[in-house]
Symmetry: D2
Subunit: 318 residues, 4 copies
């Protein structure tokens, strides 16, 4: 599927022109990412780091956060390490981290080798607006988003000869046009189409997914809202912001929950506006923010940098 | 009152060290500012600019805005010009602009010669928090705020030997401690103390002024809200933002109306926060925004750059 | 050529969904833009505004700037107005503004009716890097850039079946591959290909155009430099910035002059980086800035918002 | 010396009003900071974290960075932990970390208990400009800067009755006026006055310290430069930027080295300017950046967040 994405040739070209190659000798070994979550206890970092060192691997980065806001403190970490796959084969690594997981009764423990393991697979849902969708596709093609695109579903008819549809065709990504109506949101068909995916992205999808859909899909859904949540929930946030006379507009990417536009916020971006901005220029400026805000959320999500905590918040290890 | 403010000596020093003096020869003549508002009609700019030219004066800048959102388009302008006071004496200038005002049946027409006319006089109301008040006083002392401080009123007791009180004493600015209680907001006394002022500033004043107060005072009141309106109105916006899990916090300066935290927005500023920020660091970061956001609103207000329009919006000619 | 650009259908859709239509009734009349430059004198604004009013037209906006830094003050203005083309036909308008031009012995006087007059025609020169070129094409397709693309010239071979080449083909925009070498920059051929254009854009074109080329072409050339000028001129500014240990990187769009990377700056944008950023992530972040910085320069240039002054500076009426 | 700084009463007030107290129960134990630097080896994080866990302490945060750019990779870390001083007395803690230091042949190993250990002591050197100095003093008084001010030295005479001098008097901070001339920079006297300090801050000190001074003082010196380094080194960077026609101005805080304005950069901030900005407004805007940029550098330095690496770069663990 990624035949047309940035080729090794192109990356070699970039490396050569900018002289990247000598900077990270560690990149010659494999990189691993380990994400961990459990009730806070003594010795978690010690255990993880001892495990990594014992296999001759080097920790490159550790991010950790302890949430004290709820009843019991909860520990969250994300570690990056460089290792030799001969010295530390996949099965052994899995076993090692499983032991730690059992030791601390972990709520979450993920290991990933980005260069070997398959990318997460996402499905994108869109409506008539193209800007977020096109931006995603372009960034994906450029190799900026470490993700596999399972399919694109739209409730707006683009026609066969449009930019988006041609792009998807060229890359072998299925495109499904599923017109929705007030009475029929086509949710069973959507569920069916996205069954093999790891997460969904709503790229300005102008339908609210039902609680039933969420309960069936179970996995994460990332939405981009064209307003600075928690302000301007619901319909036409551009107009809401315009009428409120704000001096800054914003976009918010967040996880979808049953409560409309109320899920944990992942990223927010703003732009300065003035009395000269019309509703039209609000839209143009906002679209620019929405694209960046959604792309960053997807990139970080795929890099396992985003952890939900404390009911409605996110840790972003950046 | 401004004996201790930046002296001509200091300004000459600055001029000499940075070599400012040769850059704006026009500053050797006097500068005037003209603000105008009326129903949009043909020939307004032509009339104003012809009037200015006819007196041998040069237009340095024109900002105009026409609001088409309401029923009838409304015209707003702010013009800066350089003139020779011998060629265009004050009384003649007043007369000239009055004629234009009558011609277009103006809703507002203000002329000001900053170097000759007295600064606007403000009173500042504060509570226990000092950061906005101290910042205002320091900027005023530095000559950054073209305003006259009539008095400072606080419902929190600072004691005689504190930084703020000593500063005010030294500059001859009256300081009034008026403790408020649930049943007694001391509004008649406040009204009395601020009777000679041109506008009020609420520098984190933790009391809501009553509709009666607003109706009696009649003039503009500028508030700083420690949240990004229209989000997080009312009490403890830091905690509201913290609990909403936002990734950006902000401050808003706005005009006070009878509706709490709902008056026309003048300026908004934001700062990026992360999951690592505590409620305490929310406060510290926000305070930094509040100071800047309020100072900018006051500066622009005194420079006649802010015009209210369309019920709940502001034009900011910046 | 613009068959595939945003169709009236799409724009109507946007208007309907966001409710834009009622906001600017003035848009039912035609809009005009008038740009003017001359030695500063009495009565320029008065003359322009009287002329506009005398034809029943309304001034929507005036931006003016007087440069006092050089010997004689120079006046620059950009006015937008709404007019009825029956009441003020094109020939009469041209005549009116020509009279003003003669009256003040203008150095520059341009009138444009964006909805009637043809867009400026640009040619784009690029090398192996695609990000700026693709971004331009996409924004142009979206209707964000009021420009006509005459052709794209590249000194890097893309091959027929690439994204860019297919896009250009579909839109009927000629694509010329002209490989350059140390001894042969193909300038006569380039000059020939761009002869009918109004300005050139160097979208990360990795060749320095010779003084001869500039003297022959005569018209404006806009370049995007991947560094924060005047820092990091010349080759590999990413590496220069990386090695300087800066905490902010930036991009600069500017006019090309004979002096390398030294022409008048139009726009600059920055992004915050940290010790964790590699040379590779410098490039990725910078590319994001470059796209936005170049697009903004082109948009403003086509909207006649950019005026060169004082030898090496630009006025940007935004 | 800190009698007049924010009192426990004030902090309790803040805590009560904003409801901070329940958020970080860990703050009831003591916090420690451990900074470490050595040639990269296996097991460093494991050793540090095992040591902390073995004493019943909890790691709250780990920041680490490995520099691969030079010959041998170098490891840098900063860990925060919460501990019980009865369970882990100071002498034992020192001993524990010394062992680790010996084990890895560390280049740097610092342990600090902010609530118990004395603050770093700095001396401030200033000239006629007050803005950075006053800002520092005000932030210090507010409790924002965890630093002890040894003395303030100025080569400009303020006179006894000025804001700064009175402030220093009130807080018992010695103020020394040492007029400099071309031939006499008073460096021996300065060296003598700052002999007991941990670092120096040049708050717009308009003298270049000699290599001899640096060699004698040996400790870190932080400077604020009023330009975006490496652009605009040396004298009058405002004018340099003004004449270059830039669209962004900036400030840079950096360590002082023998090379003028060329030491490792700690922090940079920018503000957007336009053709309307005069040299005077460049200065005003820049001063606002300088204050923030210097204050952040001092705060982070005192919190042990800044490590120099790779000859001319800084790690900022933020």
């Amino acid at each position: 599927m990624s035949l047309n994405r940035q080729t090794p040739h192109f990356l070699r070209l970039k490396t050569k022109r900018y002289g990247f190659q000598d900077l990270r000798p560690e990149t010659k070994r494999l990189h691993g990412v380990h994400v961990f979550q459990c009730t806070d206890q003594l010795g978690i970092v010690a255990s993880i780091s001892r495990c990594i060192a014992s296999r001759g691997a080097n920790i490159l980065n550790v991010d950790l956060y302890i949430d004290f806001d709820g009843g019991k403190p909860v520990f969250y970490s994300r570690s990056e390490f460089a290792f030799d796959p001969v010295q530390w084969p996949g099965a052994v690594m899995d076993d090692d981290f499983s032991q730690i997981s059992r030791l601390f009764n972990a709520d979450k423990s993920i290991v990933k080798i980005p260069s070997k393991d398959p990318d997460l697979k996402m499905a994108v849902l869109a409506s008539w607006q193209d800007h977020c969708l096109v931006d995603l596709l372009y960034r994906w093609q450029e190799g900026e988003l470490p993700v596999d695109i399972g399919c694109v579903i739209s409730n707006h008819d683009r026609g066969p000869n449009t930019h988006v549809v041609r792009f998807l065709e060229r890359h072998g990504i299925p495109y499904h046009y599923l017109p929705t109506s007030k009475g029929n949101k086509r949710e069973p068909e959507i569920l069916n189409l996205v069954s093999g995916t790891d997460f969904l992205v709503l790229a300005r999808y102008m339908q609210v997914l039902s609680p039933e859909f969420l309960r069936h899909y179970k996995k994460d859904i990332i939405n981009i809202h064209h307003g600075l949540l928690p302000s301007f929930k619901g319909a036409n946030p551009y107009r809401q912001a315009y009428e409120a006379g704000v001096k800054l507009i914003g976009a918010t990417s967040h996880f979808v929950t049953e409560e409309l536009d109320d899920g944990p916020i992942i990223e927010q971006m703003v732009d300065r506006i003035s009395h000269r901005d019309s509703l039209h220029s609000f839209a143009t400026r906002s679209e620019n923010l929405e694209k960046q805000c959604l792309a960053k959320a997807i990139k970080y999500y795929c890099e396992l940098r985003i952890l939900r905590y404390s009911n409605n918040k996110t840790i972003v290890f950046s």
